[in-house]
């Protein structure tokens, strides 16, 4: 029962894993610094990634994350909304005041989108990961870019 382990970890490890790790930093003070939020938790980064394409509601974020990671990261309503709450609090995403006009299936749902800060933080996190990736490639842990990898999405 993995979720028991997860919740136990939440109990003692404040701020919990789902919450932005940067919570403790005074990111809201002075001026905004995207680096202060790094590293993001995988769940937070996945949500930011999912929202990078445009506004979505909770359920579609869940599906998108699950599909994109081929099930490696599975979001669960409880997890998702807790993470959303933290992201909303830190101003990385916000909620649309009005429902998108067309193309979306459910008008009653709440839609979320990235804020400027959210974009900046997501970008900073991506760069951080990219630099780690480069480092891994340089040390031959990964194949260089362009080589076929079984994990590459088609």
């Amino acid at each position: 029962m993995r979720w028991i382990a997860v919740s136990a970890c939440n109990l003692f490890d404040t701020p919990p894993v789902y919450v932005l790790k940067a919570y403790r930093l005074k990111a809201h003070m002075d001026r905004f610094r995207a680096e202060a939020f790094l590293p993001l938790t995988p769940v937070a980064f996945e949500i930011l990634l999912a929202l990078a394409d445009g506004e979505q509601h909770g359920y579609s974020i869940m599906r998108e994350v699950s599909d994109r990671s081929s099930g490696a990261i599975t979001l669960h309503p409880g997890t998702l909304y807790r993470a959303l709450a933290r992201l909303l609090e830190s101003g990385l995403i916000d909620e649309l005041d009005e429902r998108p006009a067309t193309g979306h299936d459910d008008g009653r749902r709440r839609y979320y989108r990235l804020t400027e800060r959210g974009i900046a933080v997501a970008r900073a996190e991506a760069e951080r990961l990219a630099s780690q990736l480069t480092a891994a490639r340089n040390r031959k842990l990964l194949r260089p870019v362009g080589a076929a990898s079984p994990r590459t999405r088609t």
Binding site: L11, T14, G71, T74, T79, A85, R108
Partner: protein, 921 residues
């Protein structure tokens, strides 16, 4: 209801795990997602694939609940630790959020104040922790011993049944085997009645190698079924007559067989008879508890290691002397205890009435043996712990007193703190803080102290319980079952909260009286609202002293009882005596063989270097319980049922001389009083005075059975305290071992040097005399004597330490109040000194003020003692509950303590430099 409706309900319940604000904000979304997940089923997101619908739903719900609690905890931790750093997405809503906000600020305020004066805060918490910890620990003991059910199934339906020897005034006498069978057969109200021997029997067990003595207990075969306990492994007795079986205890199994399950079915030799071990009882099983044993018994040891089934016929019954010469069950000798299970819904009174009816029928059927014998029924719990209830409740009261004093002390400190914070409080009121707000703050402070003290107290209580169990005398029933548990936790929480409220009460009340204008106008000298506060403070000190006086008087009475108990002359000289018990080798079958063995044994023991004399008996004073017999006096024919009852013992070798028991008249046994010589006996003074008043008992003849030969009294010895030091001596008669059988004697050895130094020598010599001679309970008589008062000492040590603690706390209280008083009166004292008052006078004034407090407290305390101490009467010995010495001595001691506590602050005042003192004006 449709399945989806159920799901809705389940989901709503799951959502309750979340904080309300979170639920309001995200609840709808979660609900919608949950339903979408449910309808899409396997075609939904990949992570739900492969799971069947129901288990997937349950899994989702469980995860929701877990996440909800996680959110709650993170909300609380953020609220506690980073309350202001970030604006929360969802603000607390509802009526109570203001409450939480103010609570937080109050907590923080209290913590800030506590940090400012760390020593005082630490002392405060320590005081509370001590009080709460001690109370919880004692509570745990009282709860485990007196309240918790015994380790038997449905134990509140179990009753102990005794014979009521109305004529001897012993309502809980043991039962004779034949009467037991009749009780078992004729009762209407019990679902079963099972019996046991009312003493433990030393079994000489040979497992591999030499035999050792294990503590054995004879029980009727169905006893374990009646108690509702089954063996851990193996089986209970199946009640088949003629099989030699035994069940062993968990402890014995672990100790002697290393917990090997193959022990079941194994055959061991007990007194050269093969016995099959058929089962091992669980480790929490105890039977019987010491207090379930009747008045007669071989030893005080109660941890039974082996149970063997009683047979009412056959060779085992003969061995146990249960059959008369005519082969019938014995009716005139009593040694059975009995446990019965009441039929559901019946009360003890109904069972009592039923058993009394049976006893009356038996009286009519067997007037010879049963006249004057009734029946007594008590609950098993009452039988087990009834005699420690009063002492334990005394302990609980004492510790509660200490807790109360500690709370009063802390209340005083807090009150003093609120004096210092007068202006702060006044500012708050001026800025519009309402009454509720002020009370809330005081309560928060008190509760916080209580909770922190309680947490520390919990740790202390755990240690305390361990220490109490280690210190407790082994004959305190059920003490091994005491463990810190949830009930202790609950009581600790309750006590902590209560203490917190108690501590906060007076500060809260005085906070209400703050008059902001006056307080703020006046400079630094906090006298406004002071009348009430001063009065409250004085009241607290008086209450504290009163409690301390009461507790100390109680402790004083117990100490006086204990001292007079220790100085009781037991009738023998306990110093330089070594004693042990042993079982004679089984190969000695005849009386002559035994006499020969004793002769050699005594000679060799007496020849040991450092040994003055050797003797033995069947019942060691203060170390074993008694066995009685009924005697007929020559020339005074009476019906058997009216024969007087006397304690019956045998003497071996130079018993009286070795023990130092004085011979008052006549002589003691000599070598010529052998098996073929006329039977003789020695009686004690009480017997002589009671049965032969105004006559010379020497030469009189008695017998203990109509077919028995007459026994001539040859001497009178001094009374000895046999059962306990506080007991009045009972009539006793002694018969020489040369004229009777003794198989498990107690041997006493008088030494010229330290008795304890002889232990190894004696053990080696016993082994040299006979390889098969297990020597056990080898100890000095001083130890035996000290163990006989162990329970009293345990209670005494605890109550006395509570008394000391109470005195110390009271002294601290007086000191605190006087210090405060002095610092408040600095200016006044300065003026006085400047105007020419002598420093000594200043000091005198202050000390006298403290004395007034102390006197008021003492008056109240002594009055309380006069009312309360008679409740202690059962615990006292040779001291009246209103003992004038204690009632006068304790107050004087307390006055001294109070004066000392007041002296230090008073001296500080005396040394004040008037210029300095007035400068602050």
């Amino acid at each position: 209801m449709k399945p989806s409706r159920w799901l809705d309900v389940a989901l709503s319940l799951a959502l309750l795990a979340y904080p309300r604000a979170f639920r309001r904000r995200f609840g709808d979304e979660i609900r919608r997602d949950f339903h979408t997940l449910g309808t899409q089923g396997t075609s939904g997101p990949q992570h739900t694939q492969g799971k069947s619908g129901t288990s997937g739903t349950v899994d989702t719900l469980a995860r929701l609940i877990a996440a909800g609690f996680a959110e709650r905890f993170s909300a609380i931790s953020r609220w506690l630790f980073w309350p202001t750093q970030r604006q929360h997405l969802y603000v607390p809503t509802g009526r109570r959020h203001m409450f939480w906000d103010t609570l937080r600020s109050d907590v923080q305020h209290t913590l800030r104040l506590a940090r400012k004066s760390p020593v005082v805060s630490l002392l405060t918490i320590l005081t509370l922790a001590l009080g709460i910890g001690a109370t919880s620990a004692i509570f745990a003991v009282v709860d485990s011993v007196l309240v918790k059910p015994l380790p038997y199934a449905d134990s509140d339906r179990l009753v102990s049944v005794w014979s009521d020897a109305t004529r001897q005034g012993r309502p809980r006498n043991t039962i004779s085997p034949a009467n037991f069978r009749d009780f078992q057969r004729m009762n209407q109200t019990l679902d079963g009645l099972e019996g046991y021997f009312s003493f433990v029997t030393p079994f000489e067990m040979a497992i591999e190698g030499p035999s050792e003595v294990v503590v054995g207990m004879w029980v009727t075969p169905r006893l374990f079924d009646l108690l509702g306990r089954t063996p851990l492994i193996g089986r209970a007795f199946n009640g088949q007559a003629g099989t030699l079986e035994a069940i062993i205890s968990y402890g014995f199994w672990q100790r002697r067989f290393g917990g090997d399950p193959a022990v079941v079915g194994r055959t061991v030799q007990v007194a050269n008879n093969p016995i099959t071990i058929v089962g091992v009882m669980p480790h929490d099983f105890t039977f019987p508890y010491g207090s379930m044993l009747g008045p007669s018994g071989f030893t005080r040891a109660t941890a039974v290691e082996v149970w063997a089934p009683i047979a009412f016929e056959g060779p085992v019954a003969t061995l146990n002397r249960m059959l008369t010469a005519q082969g019938q069950l014995v009716r005139g000798t009593h040694w059975f205890g009995a446990v019965g299970r009441m039929k559901p819904g019946l009360t003890v009174a109904q069972v009592q009435a039923d058993m009394s009816t049976v006893a009356r029928q038996l009286e009519q059927s067997y007037p010879e043996t049963n006249a004057g014998w009734g029946a007594t029924v008590v609950t098993v719990l009452d039988q087990t712990v009834g005699n420690v209830r009063a002492p334990l409740l005394v302990l609980l009261t004492g510790v509660a007193c200490v807790l109360l004093i500690a709370a009063v002390n802390v209340a005083n400190l807090v009150l003093a703190g609120s004096v210092a914070r007068q202006r702060e409080l006044a500012t708050r009121v001026a800025l519009g803080a309402g009454r509720a707000r002020m009370i809330q703050q005081a309560l928060t402070e008190g509760l916080l102290l209580g909770v922190v003290g309680g947490l520390a107290g919990l740790v202390l209580a755990r240690w305390g319980v361990a220490a109490l169990v280690a210190l407790a005398p082994p004959d305190l029933p059920r003490v091994q079952e005491v463990t810190p548990d949830v009930r202790m936790l609950a009581i600790t929480v309750a006590i902590s909260v209560l203490t917190g409220v108690l501590v906060a009460l007076l500060p809260a009340l005085t906070a209400l009286r703050v008059a902001p204008q006056a307080a703020l106008q006046e400079h630094s000298r906090g006298t406004t609202g002071g009348t009430l506060r001063n009065r409250a403070r004085a009241g607290l000190v008086v209450a504290e002293i009163a409690l301390a006086v009461t507790l100390t008087i109680g402790a004083g009475l117990l100490i006086r009882s204990f001292v007079s108990l220790l100085s009781v002359n037991p009738g023998f000289q306990a110093d330089h005596l070594l004693t042990w018990q042993m079982n004679l080798p089984d190969r000695l079958r005849t009386q002559n063989e035994r006499i020969e063995f004793y002769r050699e044994f005594l000679t060799r023991m007496r020849a040991l270097p450092g040994v003055i004399s050797v003797g033995g008996t069947t019942r060691l004073p203060l170390g074993s319980t008694g066995l009685t017999t009924f005697i007929d006096i020559d020339g005074r024919p009476r019906p058997t049922a009216e024969w007087p009852e006397v304690q019956f013992r045998r003497a071996i070798g130079d018993y009286f001389q070795t023990m130092g028991i004085p011979v008052i008249r006549g002589r003691t046994f000599a070598g010529t009083d052998g098996p073929t010589a006329p039977p003789v006996c020695v009686v004690n003074q009480t017997l002589a005075a009671r049965l032969f008043p105004g006559e010379d008992p020497v030469g009189k003849r008695v017998r203990n059975g109509q077919t028995q030969p007459w026994i001539t009294v040859i001497g009178v010895i001094g009374d000895i305290k046999h059962g306990a030091l506080e007991e009045t001596p009972e009539p006793e008669m002694y018969v020489s071992h040369l004229q009777g059988q003794v198989v498990s004697p107690y041997i006493v050895l008088r030494t010229s040097g330290e008795a304890a130094d002889m232990v190894d020598l004696v053990r080696a010599e016993a082994r040299a005399i006979d390889r098969d001679l297990p020597v056990y309970r080898l100890q000095t008589m001083e130890t035996v004597r000290s163990e006989s008062v162990a329970q009293r000492r345990f209670i005494l040590v605890l109550v006395a330490s509570f008394g000391v603690l109470a005195l110390a706390l009271a002294a601290i209280g007086v000191y605190g109040v006087m210090s405060l008083l002095v610092s408040e009166r600095t200016q006044e004292v300065g003026v006085r000194l400047a105007l020419g008052a002598a420093p000594a006078d200043v000091m005198k004034t202050l000390v006298l003020q403290a004395m007034r407090f102390a006197l008021a407290g003492i008056v109240v305390g002594v009055a309380m003692s006069l009312v309360l101490m008679p409740l202690l009467r059962a615990q006292l010995y040779a001291v009246q509950p209103r003992d004038p010495l204690t009632l006068a001595g304790v107050p004087i001691a307390l006055m001294l303590v109070a004066a000392l506590a007041a002296l230090m602050p008073a001296r500080r005042a005396m040394r004040l430099n008037p210029v300095e003192a007035l400068r602050y004006e």
